[in-house]
């Protein structure tokens, strides 16, 4: 099965790293295939940042996301911009601290979207004491909600992807995100 994931937010939130961790988890530690792509260009700085991952049980040929099964939005601007591509019956995960799902209520109802709110930025700030790990908190929430990667694979991928010396904080952030979706 092919699962298309789009993660979007502001440049600087670690959106790209979150996507790389999903791809790495699936392809190196979960025995699946994955391709990660991202948008380049002026919009990657300050404005909207977008990262896409395709995960599949078999070879991923076409590498781009066409209509995501899962949309993760960490800014309202990105939510408004990308919601229209989400597949009917797809999954929307938002950070309620940085987005307002009321703004896309109509689309959610019309297209039968499953909505989850994961306060990643608040959790990162309050529980870990580091706002910058909000992306990893979000990876925890994505893992629990979608099961597109396993928890074990995610932890291994985080360990090898984050800067040395920050592994513990990042794993704590992942666990906090994973718990959010309980």
């Amino acid at each position: 099965m092919r699962t298309e994931i789009r993660i979007c937010g502001f440049g600087g939130q670690g959106i790209i790293l979150a996507g790389i961790i999903l791809g790495k988890s699936a392809s190196l530690f979960d025995d699946k295939e994955a391709v990660q792509t991202q948008s380049y260009g002026p919009e990657a700085r300050g404005g909207a940042s977008k990262c896409e991952v395709v995960i599949s049980d078999s070879t991923v040929d076409y590498p781009k996301v066409q209509s995501p099964d899962i949309l993760v939005a960490m800014s309202n601007e990105a939510l408004m911009k990308y919601i229209v591509d989400l597949k009917d019956g797809g999954t929307l995960i938002v950070d309620p601290g940085t987005t307002d799902v009321e703004d896309v209520k109509e689309f959610i109802e019309e297209h039968n979207i499953e909505v989850y709110e994961a306060p990643a930025t608040k959790t990162a700030t309050d529980e870990i004491g580091l706002k910058i790990v909000a992306n990893i908190v979000m990876v925890g929430a994505i893992t629990k909600i979608t099961k597109v990667i396993s928890k074990e694979a995610a932890i291994k991928a985080i360990e090898v992807s984050v800067p040395k010396g920050t592994e513990e904080k990042n794993i704590a952030a992942f666990e906090a995100g994973y718990a959010l979706a309980d």
Binding site: S27, L28, E33, P63
Partner: protein, 373 residues
């Protein structure tokens, strides 16, 4: 033993270069190839190699020719605007039979056009960009794994035939991340160095149409020039025979080994009315389209655009009614496929510009338009 990585195409290219024995990189950063330079700037010094950021691409090509004559396997990486600037020195490398690897991560063109978008607009520049008669070798990867493998292969071919070799990638393959598997034992062609003797001729026709290459400082006192030269390397510019013999040999060393150099992958071609031909990133869309199609569609993936595998393609397509060439330009390899098919089939172009990969549905639409079985 093998190791697995989830990395960008450009990083895989840099890894492949180091694995192949590259120890000198000179270049001028340009999107979408920059990560190759960035990775090699970091990694080359760790293996005793050198990285130089040059003032421009003309100098970059000159520097790697010098690096190669200094005895180091040498490479540069660039994109369309850079490859244009390098052409003068690339011609010099063909004439002086200098093994170098030139990586072109193609972007929207001409001029500076679309730095962050994909294209395949430089295919003919790799073939005919410099002046005069020569036979280039070019490889086009369509996955991150192939970007690693083909970079290794490019170095091997460069050494085997003493020629510049192009790796013609594109923004999609350069920037996407995928898993690659790197084997512990990678086949590497080391540089053949000559034995010292009084009658050594540096431009003699001995192996594969070429001869082992001394390095500056080895004491051979040879002359390297872009002028027409004899087997000693001495200019002999007014003698038609010298020129004919030299250029024929430079071309023949590649053409006579075409069977060994050319590589393609063919699927389902037998009995198919329609065959799709593609290379590089669009291959990914074609393969996905074929999975979704209920028709019998053949597919040829070209690994080596140059030398163009014309005989193999002619054989594979001889019974097909229609050939669809999918590429990210307004027709470059299309003309080669048309030439190879010798009017046995109708050759159609699906030329996509703008920077985005064609989607599988867009390809299926074209296939449906052609009819077929």
């Amino acid at each position: 033993m093998s190791e697995e990585f989830f990395i960008q195409g450009n990083e895989a290219c840099a890894k492949g270069a180091i694995a192949a024995g590259c120890r000198f990189f000179a270049g001028y950063p340009i999107t979408p190839s920059t990560e190759i330079a960035e990775t090699l700037a970091r990694e080359l010094p760790k293996v005793g190699g050198s990285f130089v950021q040059m003032e421009d691409e003309i100098a970059s090509a000159g520097a790697i020719i010098g690096g190669s004559w200094g005895g180091a396997k040498s490479m540069t990486a660039t994109s369309g605007p850079g490859i244009s600037l390098m052409q003068e020195n690339i011609g010099y490398a063909f004439m002086s039979e200098t093994p170098i690897v030139i990586v072109d991560v193609q972007r929207g063109s001409p001029s500076t056009a679309q730095p962050t978008m994909a294209a395949q607009g430089d295919m003919m520049q790799a073939r005919w960009g410099s002046h005069g008669d020569y036979e280039p070798i070019a490889l086009s990867p369509s996955s991150v794994q192939e970007f690693f493998d083909f970079t290794v292969k490019a170095f091997n071919l460069a050494e085997e035939y003493r020629v510049p070799v192009f790796v013609m990638a594109d923004e999609v393959i350069g920037h996407m991340r995928e898993k690659i598997v790197v084997d512990e034992n990678i086949e590497i062609v080391p540089r053949k160095r000559p034995e010292k003797s009084d009658d050594f001729l540096p431009f003699e026709n001995i192996e594969n149409g070429t001869t082992p290459m001394p390095a500056f400082g080895d004491g051979f006192n040879i002359h390297v020039t872009g002028l027409t030269h004899d087997e000693r390397g001495y200019p002999d510019t007014n003698n038609p025979e010298t020129h004919d013999k030299l250029i024929q040999r430079i071309c023949d060393k590649v053409l006579n080994n075409k069977d060994k150099i050319c590589s393609l992958k063919a699927e389902n071609c037998e009995g198919a009315d329609i065959i799709i031909v593609s290379y590089g990133a669009p291959v990914r869309s074609v393969v996905e389209a074929m999975k979704r199609s209920d028709k019998k569609v053949g597919f040829i993936k070209i690994d080596t655009p140059w030398p163009f595998p014309d005989e193999k393609i002619a054989e594979l397509t001889k019974d097909a009614k229609d050939i669809l060439v999918v590429e990210m330009n307004l027709g470059q390899m299309y003309y080669e496929v048309d030439r190879a098919c010798k009017r046995n089939s109708n050759v159609h172009l699906m030329g996509v510009i703008g920077g985005l990969l064609p989607t599988p549905d867009e390809i299926l639409e074209q296939v449906d338009r052609l009819g077929g079985n």
